[in-house]
Chain length 354, copies 2
């Protein structure tokens, strides 16, 4: 699940501003806490809040403590705002703050630590691509591991694959799963598949203990590589993944925006080329609510049988039951699969290994 | 050129807020003029302006008249904001308000009537695709017409094609051309090509007077179909284009976002299928500063020699001098050309004629 945007949110204020809150997302690293109590007051006295502001710290208004989420470092110098119809849930787990709101343009939105993870309207692109790019690239996948993905959307997509016999999912935060089951049933339905085995815990530890060569495919549906997810883009993590894959097994890892994060992409590709020793490719998809409107995927195969990622050997249209699944495919098809590997000239130039 | 975002801009205020202005873009149709003088005052007293607000009308602060650009109806319920380093130019032509500013994330930005038209960082995707998708789909294009495109970026791209002998451009607003020549020399360089003939005037009238069958390709680089550009998506306009194309000649027309404007796309395709009687296809590209991060292109061929748009018969890599042009291609290549025609499942379902 991608961290997408900086979210500004007035904690505890939903009773006071019940109608419309504009979630303001901003990322300029030079922003400073210029917002005054004056502005905060306006927020409370307007029946429709149409704008508020950026903080680097807490602000107070009377008795109410204002918690503000800020600064997605993955998207400096710009902001994306969603019109909020209603705040549906707000809580704090052992690991992060969790927010669910109803937006006027994208349906319900899941936010973790102030960063938009998914919206009902465009989650299809991310979930379908991160699941089917790897699973359609190998014949008859049987054993799959999902790292992260507590909302269940990736599981929902994996469940289209009738060849799959076993799906492990290792999610660190059980509250994300609970919130998804309550507010995002169209994603959490993935947990109802009888092939799914849930492991709540640290994925790095889980992978260390996994039998060598256990998985045909591993899908890393993690947060942005800042904060706690940092180690998920480092070499030791990829080494534990490579170890857990069978020869010719595949990894699909969320890999940021080609417009914004070419250095990070370059680094990940270098590390993965050394580690997996099979093929390493980059693909991308359009997701409007993610920074710069795109999200990338790193696809790696472990040394062994060759994997031709851009020409799916196991096309979704031929997977029994995949198309007639109770939820239709919304973004993915075999044409989109192959097209996702076409890369802009600037990316090929900047990331030499592509 | 695509109208992309709603831009909020305090006219005449650049001397008073010299350091940093946040351009706030918002599109909710339900927004009302809730901004008070209180907020406006804050704008002037902060040395770094980090937020301001949404208007449907003019606001005043002391003597200074505040003009606000607002409400791109193509993108309701969300907003995109760019951090403004410096306002470089502001003026008003016979047709529209013109603004140029330096952003911190995307270089210089051109804004017409409050809607972002292009940024230096991502204009490559739009200009290269709208020019090369049609020109690489036909063998040896010789006569080309550009409708709109006053910034010169499309001309710059057409000039890579050594087969082209004559380029007409019909732009209604000469001030756009002048502003581009002054502030966007990397785009306006397109006007220096000796094959270019500039016609300042109304494109509908120009096309009516054009000899039948004159052009191999027509590229419509227009604004969003709201306001004055409305007639550029209607049947009579497409009929004049079809008339001006040779048999088997091609049109490439800016065609909005597949995420936001499926009805409009459906309408355009229906009209064009009736009008051109050749093939009609939809392609898309990633452009971060356009609504939902994508822009679409409608590609039509007039009845005559068949045009296989998704497999370029005139690949850019084989066009003499196209790759070694003084400016490198940044987005387009033949892989991106073909990939652009792969469409998400939802679009194929919603636009039946695709």
């Amino acid at each position: 699940m991608l961290n997408a945007m900086q979210l500004l949110f007035l904690g505890g204020s939903q009773n006071l501003v019940p109608f419309l809150v504009v979630v303001l997302l901003f990322c300029s690293p030079c922003l400073v806490p210029y917002v005054s109590v004056e502005l905060m007051l306006m927020l409370f006295f307007w029946s429709k809040i149409i704008v508020f502001a950026f903080f680097f710290s807490f602000a107070y208004l009377g008795e109410a403590r204002k918690k503000v989420y800020f600064n997605n470092p993955m998207w400096p110098g710009e902001a994306h705002s969603l019109d909020v119809k209603e705040i549906i849930y707000k809580g704090k787990s052992e690991y992060q703050e969790i927010l669910v709101f109803e937006s006027s343009a994208y349906g319900k939105v899941l936010v973790l630590d102030g960063i938009v993870q998914l919206t009902e309207s465009d989650e299809c692109a991310y979930q379908e691509m991160i699941a089917h790019l790897p699973l359609c690239s190998i014949p008859s996948p049987k054993s799959v591991l999902v790292v992260g993905g507590g909302d269940g959307g990736v599981l929902r997509e994996i469940s289209r694959h009738s060849s799959v016999e076993h799906i492990d999912i290792c999610e660190i935060d059980s509250m994300v799963i609970d919130v998804s089951k309550k507010y995002f049933p169209e994603l959490a339905v993935g947990f109802t598949d009888r092939r799914v085995k849930l492991h709540v815990g640290d994925a790095v530890e889980f992978l260390r203990l996994a039998p060598e060569g256990k998985y045909d495919a591993i899908i890393v549906d993690s947060s942005d590589p800042v904060g706690p997810a940092q180690e998920l883009v480092e070499k030791p993590f990829f080494e534990t993944i490579a170890r857990a894959l069978r020869p010719g097994g595949v990894l699909c890892n969320m890999a940021e925006s080609m417009w914004l994060h070419t250095h990070l992409i370059d680094d990940m590709i270098s590390v993965c080329s050394e580690t997996f020793k099979g093929s390493v490719h980059y693909a991308w998809a359009s997701v409007p609510t993610y920074p710069s409107g795109v999200i990338g995927f790193l696809l790696c195969s472990k040394a062994g049988p060759h994997v031709d990622f851009s020409n799916p050997v196991n096309p979704i249209e031929k997977v029994e039951g995949a198309i007639t699944h109770k939820r239709e495919l919304r973004y993915y098809n075999s044409e989109m699969h192959s097209a996702a590997f076409a890369l802009p000239a600037f990316l090929k130039r900047e990331v030499k290994s592509l």
